[in-house]
């Protein structure tokens, strides 16, 4: 019997790691409920703030879209960045490292499983948000919108893959780091307001987080009239920047994983629990 090729092993690993994430969601449906409810509560609070100050109705749309994208950011933080740390604590990381497969494949599987699961939640937030708050959108270009959305996810989960190696080095601080990267990122990436409000330079700095550019571009493509006065960069520039971020993050993630594997073999610290 011939042994499977490297690519075959790679893709089997991807499917194998994505499977429990997708199936797990089916087995614990209450999580879908909570994962939809929590962003919706936040979205509703921000919508009522805008209503209290008589903001134009498009701002409700900004908030609903931002609220849906929080699901991806939280998924990247809690199910990608901190994942290897949890795996270390439960004893799975050493199995990953000695398994005859690539850690990139394991991370990719986690990312794909996470994207599928999170898309269900994000879609629910958007659908319910649009329905409850009667948001009207006028799509400028569907292909561009889909392109921006997909590139944002690639860059975002690339960042998550990079974080998963970096966070592993922080041990117990990993969960606190994830906690810390919530509200400040909601602020600098403009989840609930157009990022241009931060000023051009600050928005440029925040563009290292892919959601910043993704949200701005998607808002331009969904609410063109209102975004004419609030846009940060041209959509085509943002698309290009997202491509660059995707490549840089994926490449960096591969390098960081290699370094982490090297450490694991050299001094064995990465399999010690409770650090």
């Amino acid at each position: 019997m011939s042994s499977p090729s490297r690519w075959e092993v790679f893709w089997r690993t991807v499917i194998g790691r994505a499977y429990p994430r997708i199936i797990g969601m089916q087995r614990e449906r209450s999580w879908v409920f909570f994962d939809t409810l929590l962003p919706l509560l936040q979205v509703s609070a921000f919508v009522f703030i805008y209503r209290a100050i008589q903001a134009p109705p498009e701002f409700t749309g900004f908030v609903v879209l931002g609220g849906a994208m929080t699901a991806y950011w939280l998924n990247v933080l809690w199910s990608m960045a901190t994942q290897f740390y949890w795996e270390k604590e439960t004893g799975n990381l050493e199995l990953y490292i000695i398994a005859p497969t690539s850690l990139m494949a394991i991370l990719l599987g986690m990312a794909i499983g996470g994207i599928v699961g999170t898309t269900v939640r994000a879609a629910a937030v958007i659908a319910i948000g649009l329905l409850i708050f009667h948001v009207e959108v006028s799509i400028v270009s569907l292909p561009q919108l889909l392109g921006v959305f997909l590139l944002t996810l690639v860059a975002l989960y690339g960042l998550g893959m990079l974080f998963s190696s970096l966070f592993l080095r922080y041990g117990r601080q990993a969960s606190h780091l994830s906690n810390l990267l919530q509200e400040p990122i909601f602020l600098v990436s403009g989840f609930y307001f157009p990022v241009r409000a931060l000023g051009f330079v600050a928005a440029l700095g925040a563009s290292v987080i892919p959601v910043t550019l993704g949200l701005d571009a998607m808002r331009q493509l969904l609410f063109p009239t209102m975004m004419a006065q609030f846009r940060f960069l041209d959509v085509r520039i943002e698309l290009g920047a997202l491509v660059v971020l995707s490549v840089v993050f994926l490449w960096s993630a591969k390098r960081a994983l290699g370094h982490m594997e090297d450490l694991a073999r050299r001094d064995g610290r990465l399999t010690i629990r409770g650090q």
Binding site: W31, F34, I49, Y50, A52, N179, L180, P184
Partner: protein, 288 residues
């Protein structure tokens, strides 16, 4: 009899003190003090800055809008709700599942209620620092009209105390739910804090809510708590709906509703505890 009572009181105080110390160590010993200080401040300040940006972008008059100080104060004090509610309720799940200590806590000579309140006390201390820094930031950087001379300290202290008691008993109620559930513990605190953030008008006047949610809002102690705090600090509340209530009536409603919540929480926790003992849930390890 009085010796026993004194012993119990001593036990309760000891439980409270040790739990507060334990809670503080769990929350803070993972990082150097400087990093921990940044961590404790960055989150609430970032949350407040989101509101600042929202007002700057669109509100008539920007930060000079008459609602802004009300919203800023509501958001600052809401830090207590999020931290204490989650802190107390998650103490149960952390001790049971993460540290595996809940069963030892139950066999030790301590008072479980004061133990849980003690775990919340560490959160209160951290929240107090965060609220203080937020208010200071608001006064210095955002021009929130707050000065010691204009504050009604009596109402502020009474409202603060009642509100904290309400949040702590809310935490005990959620702790009871955590005791008898397996996989939803981390969501329970967050979902409750999220729902209350929306319903009690922390960041907008409850007048803008739909009528059904307004009624729900008026049934919550936290709505009156935030309104009383705003009146004490800023000289006026945010809501037209509550403007007919005098300060005294507002505090009376707050006190009454907190007492009611305390009774419900303790009764419910006791029931949940008995249920957990019957079903062997005190030392459950669900691996979540």
């Amino acid at each position: 009899m009085s010796v026993m009572r004194r012993q119990r009181a001593g036990e309760s105080i000891r439980s409270l003190r040790m739990a507060a110390w334990l809670g503080w160590q769990i929350e803070s010993n993972w990082a150097a003090p400087f990093l921990f200080a940044i961590y404790s401040i960055a989150k609430p300040v970032a949350g407040a800055l989101i509101l600042v940006l929202m007002y700057t972008v669109i509100a008539p008059g920007g930060l000079q809008n008459r609602l802004f100080p009300q919203i800023f104060v509501g958001n600052a004090f809401y830090i207590y709700v999020a931290m204490v509610l989650m802190g107390v309720s998650q103490a149960v799940i952390e001790d049971r599942e993460h540290y595996g200590m809940l069963k030892y806590i139950y066999v030790a000579p301590l008072n479980i209620y004061t133990y849980l309140l003690g775990r919340g006390a560490a959160q209160v201390a951290m929240a107090t620092v965060a609220v203080f820094i937020m208010l200071l930031f608001g006064i210095i950087a955002l021009g929130i009209p707050l000065s010691p001379a204009s504050i009604n300290w009596g109402i502020l202290f009474a409202a603060w105390l009642f509100g904290l008691a309400g949040v702590a008993f809310g935490g005990i109620f959620l702790g009871g739910i955590s005791l008898i559930t397996a996989r939803h513990n981390f969501y329970i605190g967050e979902a409750t804090a999220g729902a209350l953030y929306l319903l009690c008008g922390a960041v907008f006047p409850i007048d803008v809510l739909p009528r059904s949610l307004q009624l729900l809002s008026q049934a919550l102690p936290l709505t009156y708590w935030l309104e009383a705090l705003r009146r004490a600090l800023l000289g006026g509340g945010a809501s037209e709906l509550l403007s007919g209530l005098s300060d005294g009536v507002l505090l009376l409603i707050l006190a009454g509703s907190v007492v009611l919540l305390a009774v419900i929480s303790v009764v419910f926790y006791r029931w949940a505890e008995n249920w957990a003992r019957e079903k062997g849930l005190i030392d459950m390890q669900s691996m979540y």
